[in-house]
Symmetry: C2
Subunit: 147 residues, 2 copies
DNA sequence: TTTCATGTAACTTTTTAAGTGACAGGTATA
DNA sequence: TATACCTGTCACTTAAAAAGTTACATGAAA
């Protein structure tokens, strides 16, 4: 299938909302930064709203973060848009009559879960504030090189 | 897209080869355990062979592990079949003229890399031997419950 | 009251991997 | 040594998930 960029794009939306909170934040403007369509942005924002990460008002282009960027982690965003989707994919159709086919799902699934948890713990230690500050540092570094 | 089960299926193949090494290991037999087609198995086995995890002989149904199952880790298998594919997907098409769009790929990419490394370190600590023993334990537990 | 936005539904396109059919060439054994 | 079987690989089809698109009812605001 096509690869999902929902996680990346959602972080993008949240950072954009915070950094440009003084502007009129229409889905069209946000979409122009992500280079996607306004509908895709609105769909992602619906998910973010359902997960209490942003507040929006129908008909009005003024989305706001539901809480401080210091209190939103990458894990919050990941769970909002990817839910409990498995990160490493098990083949769930193996032959139960075979010793390997009949047991590998449970066995591998446990190791997959360990690995996924290790990754998600990393995300739990990164806040939206970290992302925003890193973006700003990168931007300044970029501008510095131009001089 | 369709979700990739190559990693799972490759571990399955390796465990199967080791557990049933006394049998004639045709791609058809292995495929019956994975419940897929022999061509899919042969394709995966080609990749495993290219990455020095198994030895095969054209025309002859006797694949062998290239080294002891204690010396093959889940990471070896993952890297063989997934290569350096990103685990969390960046949106690589964002607006470079925007502060967010122009810097988020690098910033998020770094955090994604940290999370991926944390997961892959877990896989580096699990051997094919661990998988095989876990499968056998699960099987015995299953049989025990039947009595 | 007109203009602009959101929220959402329905549909199409894109992408990636699995599945399928075919076949040249190697293996092995009756 | 003929025959049956198997691998390795190619080309093509199908399946599934998400992005992209079109459309529109409804709300906001000047």
């Amino acid at each position: 299938m096509r690869v999902s960029t929902r996680f990346s794009d959602s972080v993008h939306i949240l950072a954009f909302i915070e950094i440009y909170k003084s502007l009129k934040l229409s889905s069209e403007l946000i979409a122009s930064s992500i280079e996607t369509s306004p509908v895709v942005v609105r769909r992602l924002m619906s998910t973010l709203r359902e997960n209490d990460l942003i507040d929006t008002k129908k008909g009005s282009a003024e989305p706001k973060l539901s809480r401080s960027p210091r209190e939103i982690t990458l894990l919050d965003v990941y769970l909002a848009v990817e839910g409990d989707k498995q990160l490493f994919t098990l083949d769930t159709n193996t032959n139960p009559e075979c010793i390997v086919g009949g047991n590998i799902q449970k066995v591998l699934g446990n190791y997959y879960e360990d690995a996924k948890m290790a990754a998600l713990r990393k995300f739990n230690n990164v806040t939206l504030q970290d992302i925003i500050e890193s973006i700003q540092v990168e931007q300044k570094a970029k501008e510095h090189h131009l001089i």
